[in-house]
């Protein structure tokens, strides 16, 4: 029984949960290259307000204010580690890789080179009810990024 639980609650996840990275909202939400979104998991109520700053095609900052379970909190923290400083294109690729891992029903071998601490979420993919928790802020990031990009292009 603990084996099953431990596969979900990897140490890395619990560490990020207790000590989230890049937490708090930063910067001016109305500045150029910036967008802020608010996403909710309608089923359970987890919420995130997420702000994305892009500069010269690079994800210069991702900041957030989030309430939710260990999985959603840790996932947000890991995401900021992974995406801040990457080019938008690279970041989109990482997003896609993480999405595939989560939707793989636990059958995909995660790539540590791409996902770093994110590989700890491989076990989450086996718990369909928790996949949404892990994806909440990733979806918010994608939404905010698209908004910024389409603002720039218009």
């Amino acid at each position: 029984m603990d084996a099953a639980l431990d596969s979900l609650y990897q140490e890395i996840i619990l560490d990020h949960y207790k000590h989230p990275h890049h937490a708090g909202l930063r910067g001016d939400p109305s500045a150029a290259g910036t967008a802020e979104v608010h996403h909710v998991n309608p089923t359970c109520g987890d919420e995130v307000t997420l702000r994305v700053h892009l500069a010269d095609g690079v994800v210069s900052d991702v900041s957030y204010d989030a309430v939710g379970c260990s999985i959603s909190q840790a996932s947000t923290s890991v995401m900021t580690d992974l995406l801040i400083g990457k080019s938008v294109e690279e970041a989109m690729g990482i997003h896609q890789t993480f999405l595939e891992l989560m939707q793989g029903k636990g059958k995909i071998e995660p790539d540590e080179d791409v996902l770093e601490d994110g590989i700890a979420f491989a076990g989450v993919a086996k718990f369909p009810a928790r996949v949404k928790c892990a994806l909440l802020s990733w979806m918010a990031w994608k939404d905010a990024t698209s908004q910024t990009l389409s603002k720039e292009n218009s």
């Binding site: 089923t43 718990f127 009810a129």
Partner: protein, 422 residues
């Protein structure tokens, strides 16, 4: 007979009720499938298995039973989407029955804003052969919004009179709603042609596939843009599924633009006492605990039909319909309402028998174990169009045999002699 399902006897074994003996020891001859279909064992067993081993509420529950239930329910949505080849599985909404699906559209439209708003001067077009469930919701909508209800009339052989289509469907038309197959006349309507015209004027097209889905292959993906309806509905209990479940497929843009219908659990994004925001489709239109067991049963039902094959079922229905039309028209004084060629119609055949009222026909047939429907079949206007107040209807399905049609014809001849007509 050509076209019959090759494994007909095996298929009949799948339906436990067909073993039923009725009063007087008569075996059941069930010719009322357009009213409701019988259920194969696999549908019953799937529901029982779920109730006995996996029952839980969905979405909201994170425990193992909850996950199993949610997965089974959403898998049923995938199956139904595959059954009608929906472009997007999230466009498939589970309702209570076809009636609720049609009311969902008509009622929500009465609160729509923007392009979909219905106002005085606008027109909604239906047909004279609609089931009451595709008439009354539009009467309510047009009365409430001061819009006008208009309709296609019928030709003497029971087809839509399309002669005035370009006038009837015009710039004022907001919605065209029609049945694909008539539940009374059996007529198969030219849905693609009408949809194309409706889309020319920017109207949305609602297709009632309650009688089509059981017997015609439905392939939304392969319908060309302009001829594809915007909304298509059908009902679970006519496609060998349980009662309590219906399906509304709708194009995402239309469903997104409609205001919500029922408010409540699961259809929300967030709720405060002051205001609420709503979830994305399909959840937006699935307030409250949905018919979980029923959706799962429906999933098994459409799987069963897909397994037999809709092309094969259609061929079976056409063969039987041809055979039945022949048999029926051999009965003196019998007049079939609707098209007389099997190729252009579905498997429901309504008729009059001179000198005997439909109730009395149905009663005599019932005394011989033959179940047909007598009355207006929820299509009073179509009956009025043909100057009759009621008719008798036989309707076959994938488990119907030619021998059952013979029993019906014999029964009708007996009815004539019992009532001493002719």
């Amino acid at each position: 007979m050509d076209g019959l399902l090759p494994e007909l006897e095996v298929i009949r074994k799948d339906f436990p009720i067909l073993e039923r003996q009725l009063a007087g020891g008569f075996p059941l001859v069930y010719l009322d499938s357009a009213n409701t279909s019988q259920k194969p064992q696999v549908v019953i067993d799937t529901m029982v298995d779920h109730l006995e081993h996996h029952n839980a509420n969905i979405s909201r529950a994170m425990h193992q039973l909850g996950s199993e239930s949610t997965e089974a329910f959403e898998a049923a949505r995938d199956r139904v989407a595959a059954f009608i080849k929906a472009p997007d599985r999230d466009e498939v909404i589970f309702t209570k029955n076809a009636t609720e699906a049609l009311n969902l559209v008509a009622n929500s439209l009465s609160w729509a804003t923007g392009d979909l708003a219905v106002a005085a001067g606008d027109e909604i077009v239906i047909t004279e052969m609609e089931h009451h469930s595709n008439i009354v919701p539009w009467q309510l909508l047009t009365e409430r919004k001061g819009a006008s209800l208009r309709w296609f009339g019928l030709t003497d052989d029971g087809r839509l009179d399309l002669s005035n289509i370009d006038e009837l469907i015009n710039e004022r038309t907001k919605v065209v709603s029609l049945t694909w197959v008539s539940n009374m006349l059996g007529t198969i309507n030219p849905v693609a042609r009408i949809a194309a015209r409706a889309h020319e004027v920017g109207a949305i097209v609602v297709v009632d596939a309650s009688q089509a889905a059981p017997q015609l292959p439905v392939d939304l993906q392969s319908m060309e843009g302009a001829s594809r309806p915007d909304v298509l509905v059908f009902t679970g209990h006519k496609v060998v599924g349980p009662t309590g479940i219906g399906v509304l497929w709708g194009r995402r843009e239309v469903l997104d633009a409609l205001p919500p219908f029922h408010g409540g659990g699961e259809m929300i994004e967030t709720v405060t006492m002051q205001r609420s925001t709503y979830a994305q489709i399909p959840h937006k239109f699935e307030a409250g605990t949905p018919p979980i067991i029923e959706a799962i049963g429906l999933g098994a039902a459409v799987d069963y039909l897909d397994h037999v094959g809709l092309d094969a079922i259609h061929a079976h229905e056409q063969a039987l319909t041809g055979y039945a039309l022949e048999g029926l028209t051999s009965v003196p004084g019998l007049r079939v309402l609707g098209p007389l060629d099997a190729a252009s119609r579905g498997g429901a055949i309504s008729f009059e028998l001179e000198g005997v009222h439909p109730h009395d026909i149905a009663q005599v047939l019932d005394s011989r174990g033959i179940a047909v429907r007598a009355g207006h079949h929820c299509a009073k206007p179509a009956h009025a169009r043909f100057g009759v107040q009621a008719s008798t209807r036989m309707s076959s399905y994938l488990y119907t045999t030619p021998t059952e049609i013979d029993a019906l014809v014999d029964g009708l001849n007996y009815t004539r002699s019992y009532f001493k007509v002719g």
